[in-house]
């Protein structure tokens, strides 16, 4: 193994490990986050880092098809953020309206 190959292997081994640690820290943020928006942002960050990990694996294992999963991950993460934000907004508005109704009656 030449020095160059060793460099590639080292780089492709170290960078995913660092990213994995970052993902764990994001998970801490997602668990700690006082508001729901905190958690959504943290989960979105985790998705981005996972995409980079998958892309690095695709280059390392020379399997180009793994990048497809990156694209799917990006789509699903975007969809999840928009859907969660919208659904929670709807739920919050409904709860607010119900409370107002109850207060108005009593």
């Amino acid at each position: 193994m030449t020095l160059l190959e060793t460099g590639y292997q080292g780089l492709f081994t170290v960078v995913p490990i660092i990213l994995a640690f970052m993902v764990i820290l994001c998970l801490v943020r997602a668990i700690k986050g006082p508001r729901i928006a905190d958690r959504i942002v943290a989960v979105n960050m985790m998705g981005t880092m996972t995409m980079v990990i998958i892309a690095i694996l695709a280059i390392k294992m020379e399997e180009g098809y793994l990048v497809d999963i990156c694209i799917i991950y990006a789509m699903i993460s975007f969809l999840a953020v928009t859907l969660l934000a919208k659904v929670y907004m709807g739920v919050y508005a409904e709860k607010k309206k119900k409370e107002e109704k109850e207060n108005g009656h009593t």
Binding site: L4, G7, Y8, L11, V15, I18, L19, M22, L25, C26, R29, G33, R35, I36, A37, D38, I40, V41, A42, N44, M45, T48, M49, M51, V52, A55, I56, A58, I59, G64, V67, D68, C70, I71, A74, M75, S77, F78, V81, T82, A85, K86, Y88, M89, Y92, A93
Partner: protein, 111 residues
């Protein structure tokens, strides 16, 4: 040719590590700021600049082929999607937080 390979490795590694640094900064910002709307600035950093640098480094590693086109597609997709996701989260936060005046000034002219 060996020197060209080395240059490619070094440039790619520089981009990859740059992206990693951006991710680190993003993470620092997310833990440093105290409120969601501030944290979102830091979080959007990795979605756009961080992944773009990482993918650029990987494209340099792999050369120009179908895989790298797909990687560029990921970046383009995220550049479209990430601002909208941030917009949705910000709108969600502003519309559900009842004590938002404590955190920041909001312009009440429109609503």
């Amino acid at each position: 040719m060996a020197i060209l390979e080395w240059i490619r490795f070094l440039v790619g590694a520089a981009f990859l590590l740059g992206g990693l640094t951006v991710f680190g900064i993003e993470l620092f910002g997310v833990f440093h700021y105290k409120y969601v709307l501030n944290r979102m600035h830091a979080a959007a950093l990795g979605d756009t600049l961080g992944i773009a640098l990482c993918m650029l480094g990987l494209v340099i590693f792999s050369g120009f082929n179908f895989t790298s086109v797909k990687m560029i597609l990921v970046v383009v997709f995220l550049w479209f999607a990430s601002p909208v996701a941030s917009h949705m989260v910000a709108r969600f936060e502003v519309s559900t937080n009842e004590e938002i005046e404590k955190e920041c000034e909001i312009d009440k002219g429109e609503e």
